[in-house]
């Protein structure tokens, strides 16, 4: 089946095609999105405008969704995708360039030592099994003796955990670790396959759930932003599954306009949400 020419197999002719065109605008966009790892939606829009300005200032800026779909049609054959997601804690829309073919952990494999990878796996398992979606530093470090590969001291393990934070696989809050939103985007498939029994899923959007609220009666879980949307302007929130009264505080739906106008830092906002279960 060698061919020195490109011929279209007959079964493919005549089917609908979607043409994606890459220009320097798209290329620069990809470079910068990759460099940043993960970006919030308003940053992505700024990035897009910037790329147009630098590489094709006379063109009209394409609608973001179309722009991204265009790029994704080109990336498809490389098993890469610009994926859109939502942060679990406050519902901010985020975008990241993710690897589809191999899992991100095996991509990490190419640059982390065996014991470092195993540390990540252990932390991941603790996070998935936990009630809150967080694993304490102490609990992770206590597993250091069980790691495969070269022996790792606790002090070293602390460094490795920081490395994971730097590389945006984990996020640290008050000595506890959870998955970075980018890691969730990249690894959802892997996690659901590897831990099919332990994994939690949101009752509303059916995606992987690490942090969220749960019904105290029937146990179903929902992401905080899913709770916000589902119970929006509902004075008597009830569990969608068992109809019992929903006991937790309902967060606000994320509003990008309000956020930008106020310009208030997260630390100044009155805490409306907490990790409740």
């Amino acid at each position: 089946m060698t061919s020195n020419h490109t011929s279209v197999p007959s079964y493919m002719q005549g089917s609908t095609r979607r043409v994606g065109i890459m220009t320097d605008v798209h290329r620069r966009f990809l470079q910068l999105l990759m460099t940043h790892g993960v970006l919030e939606e308003w940053d992505v829009k700024r990035l897009q405008k910037h790329c147009y300005k630098v590489h094709d200032c006379n063109a009209t800026v394409e609608k973001l969704e179309d722009f991204i779909n265009n790029i994704n049609s080109v990336l498809e054959s490389l098993y890469i995708e610009i994926k859109k997601g939502v942060t679990e804690d406050d519902g901010r829309p985020i975008y990241a360039l993710v690897n589809l073919a191999t899992t991100s952990v095996s991509k990490m494999a190419s640059d982390f030592a065996e014991n470092e990878l195993d540390l990540f796996r252990k932390a991941l398992e603790l996070i998935i099994d936990s009630e809150t979606g967080f694993a304490s530093s102490t609990n992770i470090l206590n597993l250091v003796d069980q790691l495969k590969g070269k022996k790792m001291r606790k002090k070293e393990a602390e460094q490795v955990l920081q490395k994971f934070v730097q590389h945006k696989w984990l996020v640290e809050k008050e000595g506890e670790f959870t998955l970075h939103c980018r890691a969730i985007l990249e690894m959802e498939q892997y996690i659901r396959e590897t831990y099919p029994d332990a994994v939690k899923v949101c009752n509303i959007c059916h995606s992987l759930l690490i942090q969220g609220q749960s019904c105290e009666t029937c146990g179903i879980k929902m992401h905080l932003p899913c709770v916000a949307k589902y119970f929006q302007s509902n004075s008597e929130p009830r569990c969608p599954h068992c109809n019992d009264y929903w006991p937790h505080e309902i967060p606000e739906v994320f509003d990008p306009e309000k956020e930008r106008e106020a310009g208030i830092s997260k630390s100044n906002k009155k805490p409306l949400r907490s990790r409740q279960h």
Binding site: T2, T6, R17, R28, M34, A101, K107, S110, S207, S267
Partner: protein, 359 residues
């Protein structure tokens, strides 16, 4: 996709592969379609994902669907050169139907894709790429086709990402990815102005660190000579190295270059500049050095200890900075807020780092 079908396809592909491997070497082009099922190489410790057909995630309210459900044909446009047509086609039916005809994809195609992923990862990490690493981690058993695989991967990188593979050290086969798009060297959102210099800068910072945080000019040149950079000899990427390290990088505050006190005849030494302290760390530089020597930072216990102490100090400084700015946040709300917002802008976190280093 029903399990039975998948394994049938796999078996079919395997038998095809046995016959076709030698032929693939000749005719394989970047234009051949890539098959839906993708197997990861056997050495990776974790399971790979099943057929991409099972990828269509349930359409929750938060997901933007970006998968093509019909056959996608793609063309690239190079804005500088004439239009070059590259058509990549994939048989892809909607609703995850099984592939009607195994559009054959050889093992080399998989390696090309894996190599592209690996190179992009290195680009993101701003790390140099060695031939040895590529062979060991990606190419593996297909060593004889290294150049072919690398060439195809480079083509993808060039056409899709506007990145060029440049061989920085022909003796030790070290490469870097360089942004080849014109007019991309601008201020704010550009994060990789330093990409061509980064390997060089890290090398010099490494010399300085390992010589006790201060290195003589002679010591720096000794190391640079090893990687093929010589005083007065223009390099195709870095230009003239002496100007680069004694002027350009000094001007950008990455290095400090000063006369050794009381030296006669005058001789000079290098130290880390404030921007180096802000944008990188001893630990990061040690990691870079370790990588180049194919080992891990803890293999250099003396420097590792020093780097650990540096990390602790930085953590303390960061904690103090957060406390300080939280107290003044109410007074300077908008200015501080921008610095502590959850924006993931790299430039923003650099600004934070440099302000905290001044405490």
């Amino acid at each position: 996709m029903p399990r039975g079908k998948k394994s049938k396809l796999r078996a079919h592909e395997k038998s095809h592969q046995a016959q076709e491997e030698p032929e693939n070497l000749v005719g394989v082009q970047a234009t051949e379609g890539v098959r839906e099922e993708f197997r990861s190489s056997s050495s990776l410790p974790l399971k790979s994902l099943p057929a991409a057909g099972s990828y269509s995630n349930p359409q929750g309210p938060q997901r933007a669907t970006s998968t093509a459900t019909t056959t996608a044909a793609v063309s690239y446009t190079r804005s500088n050169e004439g239009a070059k047509d590259q058509v990549e086609e994939r048989p892809r039916s909607s609703q995850a139907q099984p592939i009607t005809e195994p559009f054959h994809r050889g093992p080399l195609d998989e390696k090309v894709v894996t190599l592209v992923h690996y190179l992009l990862y290195k680009y993101k990490m701003k790390e140099p790429i060695t031939k040895a690493d590529m062979l060991r981690k990606v190419i593996q058993m297909h060593r004889n086709h290294f150049h072919q695989i690398l060439k195809r991967a480079s083509e993808h990188l060039e056409l899709v990402f506007g990145l060029d593979m440049k061989e920085v050290d022909p003796n030790r086969h070290i490469y870097i990815l360089v942004n080849k798009l014109e007019g991309s060297y601008d201020g704010r959102l550009s994060d990789d102005r330093g990409v061509p210099k980064t390997g060089l800068l890290m090398t010099v910072l490494g010399v300085i660190f390992t010589k006790g945080n201060c290195a003589t000019e002679e010591q720096v040149w000794q190391t640079l000579n090893v990687i093929g950079l010589y005083e007065g000899r223009k390099h195709f990427i870095f230009g003239e190295p002496r100007k680069l390290i004694t002027k350009d990088l000094v001007k950008e505050n990455y290095l400090e270059y000063r006369q050794v006190p009381n030296s006669d005849p005058a001789c000079y030494e290098f130290l880390w500049g404030p921007r180096a302290h802000a944008e990188t760390s001893k630990m990061k530089v040690l990691e870079f050095l370790a990588k180049v020597h194919n080992t891990v930072p803890s293999a250099f216990p003396f420097w590792y200890e020093e780097a650990l102490r540096d990390e602790e100090e930085r953590a303390r400084a960061r904690a103090a900075a957060t406390a300080h700015t939280a107290a003044t946040a109410s007074a300077h709300s908008s200015a501080m807020a921008r610095a502590h917002s959850r924006a993931m802008d790299g430039a923003c976190s650099r600004a934070m780092a440099s302000s905290s280093s001044h405490l």
